[in-house]
């Protein structure tokens, strides 16, 4: 297990390094400098600003400086807000994003598992049909459409919750629901498929032959076996939520990292784009690593083979 973990961490660092390198050189391919927002400057002033950003040095030096900086948590200075280091921009905005993301993950996965399991247990009944329809809707309706619907009906028409802005739990409810819909639907579908497979398996047949009651079979044998694989979709769900957060934070005017990302794209603020890219990748890689470890712990088949390797 320890060896496996080391290998995983090595790959994680390698990936991170590649991500940093690739984004750096991609950004260098792009036109646009910090000057685009301040056109009326003399050439010497322009040179001074470029020098401030370190853009007068040869590219390879810029690269080394950048990598060195990133290792120390320094992502350079924003083009858009010339007085702000990117690291500050991100650290001040990551809180709301993490909060929303975590809430959406919990709100998506837990009910998703319940609904999916119920659909499988009550296969081919109206319960199953209902859960299937709900999950198809959840997968099909884009989060931003759902977000605007929630805003319109719950915020604008019914005045139940704030339409937008940030400042307390009430403000997180609508964006969390909008973000959680798709992970919920994914989890429900995945759990249902797993559970249907498990319920058709020989060992469930054997459990029935042992004389366990229907719910005894489900509780003692079916649930655990169908829930273990759900861990493997947490990674993709995290991607899903990150993607969604970019637009949801925009719609609800939440000062998060996703909203900043969109702003940076629209203003060609390359240092911020690069930093957000790296932060997103790190978050995803950490989630993938954790789910891998958790999977290894809860699935005895992997646990043992990990030990013997």
């Amino acid at each position: 297990m320890a060896k496996y973990l080391l290998k995983r961490i090595f790959y994680l660092l390698l990936t991170l390094f590649i991500v940093i390198t690739v984004t750096f050189f991609l950004m260098k391919l792009l036109p646009g400098t910090p000057l685009q927002n301040q056109q009326k400057l003399s050439p010497s002033e322009q040179h001074l600003i470029l020098k401030q950003y370190g853009l007068t040095k040869p590219i390879w030096q810029q690269y080394l400086t950048y990598v060195g900086g990133v290792l120390h948590g320094n992502f350079g200075t924003s083009f858009q807000f010339s007085d702000q280091p990117v690291s500050y921009l991100i650290s001040s905005r990551i809180g709301p994003s993490l909060l929303l993301g975590t809430q959406a993950m919990i709100l998506g996965v837990v009910p998703g598992i319940l609904v999916g399991a119920l659909g499988a247990i009550k296969k081919n009944t109206w319960v199953d049909t209902t859960t299937t329809i709900v999950s198809i809707l959840g997968i099909s309706i884009p989060s931003f459409v759902l977000a605007v619907l929630l805003q319109y009906f719950i915020g604008l028409k019914l005045h139940l919750l704030p339409i937008a802005d940030w400042g307390g739990f009430a403000y997180t409810v609508l964006p969390t629901i909008a973000l959680a819909a798709s992970p919920f639907a994914d989890t429900a579908r995945f759990t249902r498929t797993e559970m249907v497979d498990v319920l058709n398996s020989d060992y469930i047949e054997l459990a029935r032959a042992k004389g366990l009651s229907k719910w005894g079979v489900i509780y003692h044998h079916a649930l655990r076996n169908s829930l273990i694989p759900v861990v493997t979709i947490i990674g993709p769900l995290a991607v899903n939520i990150m993607t969604g957060s970019m637009v949801i934070e925009n719609i609800f005017s939440i000062p998060g990292i996703g909203e900043q990302f969109v702003k940076s794209i629209l203003t060609n603020d390359y240092p911020t784009i690069m930093a957000v890219t790296i932060v997103y990748s790190v978050m995803l890689m950490v989630v993938l690593l954790i789910t891998d470890i958790v999977y290894g712990i809860i699935d005895p088949r992997i646990r043992i083979s990990g030990k013997s390797n």
Binding site: L29, S140, P142, F144, I265, Y280
Partner: protein
Amino acid sequence: MADEVKLPADSFEPLDKSKHLDSEKIAAPNLTFMQDAWRRLKKNKSAIIAMIILVIFFVLAFGSAFISPHNPNAVNPQLANLPPKWPGVNINGVNGTLVQAGSRVNAYQAAGAGAGVHYWLGTDYLGRDMLSRILFGTRISLTVAVVATAVDLLIGVSFGLFSGWKGGWIDNFMQRVIEIIMSIPTLVVVVLLILILKPGMTSITLAIAFSSWTTMARLIRAQTMELKGQEYVLAAQTLGESSIKIAFKHLLPNLSSIIIIQTMFTIPSAIFFEAFLSFVGIGISAPQASLGTLLNDGQKNFQFLPYQMWYPAIVLSVIMIAFNIFADGLRDAFDPQTKE
């Protein structure tokens, strides 16, 4: 126990062996794999309805390139923000009236439109016909999605085939590459690619394709590895057939169901990405429209003119739902085990 009933005299004559023995006859009709899948698909009512809906949308969206009620790009500021009006129908919502400052007014009269003027789905903030724009936008969205999926297919299938067929360190390396790509959120890749390629229809299509082929590649690789061990592939190898020929003659036909199913799931996700990017403002740019840009435009006036958002939202959602249901149906049809 023996039967007491009188039996006809010739009952115990032996039958002619050559005539009645059916050692070669097979009881069930002989269907090809595709026929069998189609037969199962036909039994799935919701999948067939979804398919019909999709066909209608495709026909309308692409047919409107030739016959369209209005020019989707014709600006008419006088007739801006008109609500839907259907000829001869007087129901609030489709009779051309709007609630303004608490009272219902006839927007068409106020704008000075003639009695014969009616926009089925209203007009947008520049007075462009919403129906035409939605048809136009749907066409662009579907085009982007289908082309992106085709490119995705090409990359994914060749990558997966190559990786799975070669095996060894090449496969190992190629899988690491996929792992690295997969540990970067798709959307970030798409955004980076769009920034480099400049926003527009081509770049958005390529960006979606380049960032979504990994799933296809993985599926194809896994299946190729399995097929590689099959006797008929080994036999072809032993007979000295070239790898390319084996790929086209033996592997691809057996991969076809996976490819079809995965494609059907990729298209809606490509539609989603296009809408998403255009909605955020880095996708299709004006004067072109896609469902995403229409939603973006609609959202700006959503509080006052909700219809401008409703219709594109409904069209987008219905297309997504239909694709997902159809894809589910296809998967069940190709892979009956998952259903039974």
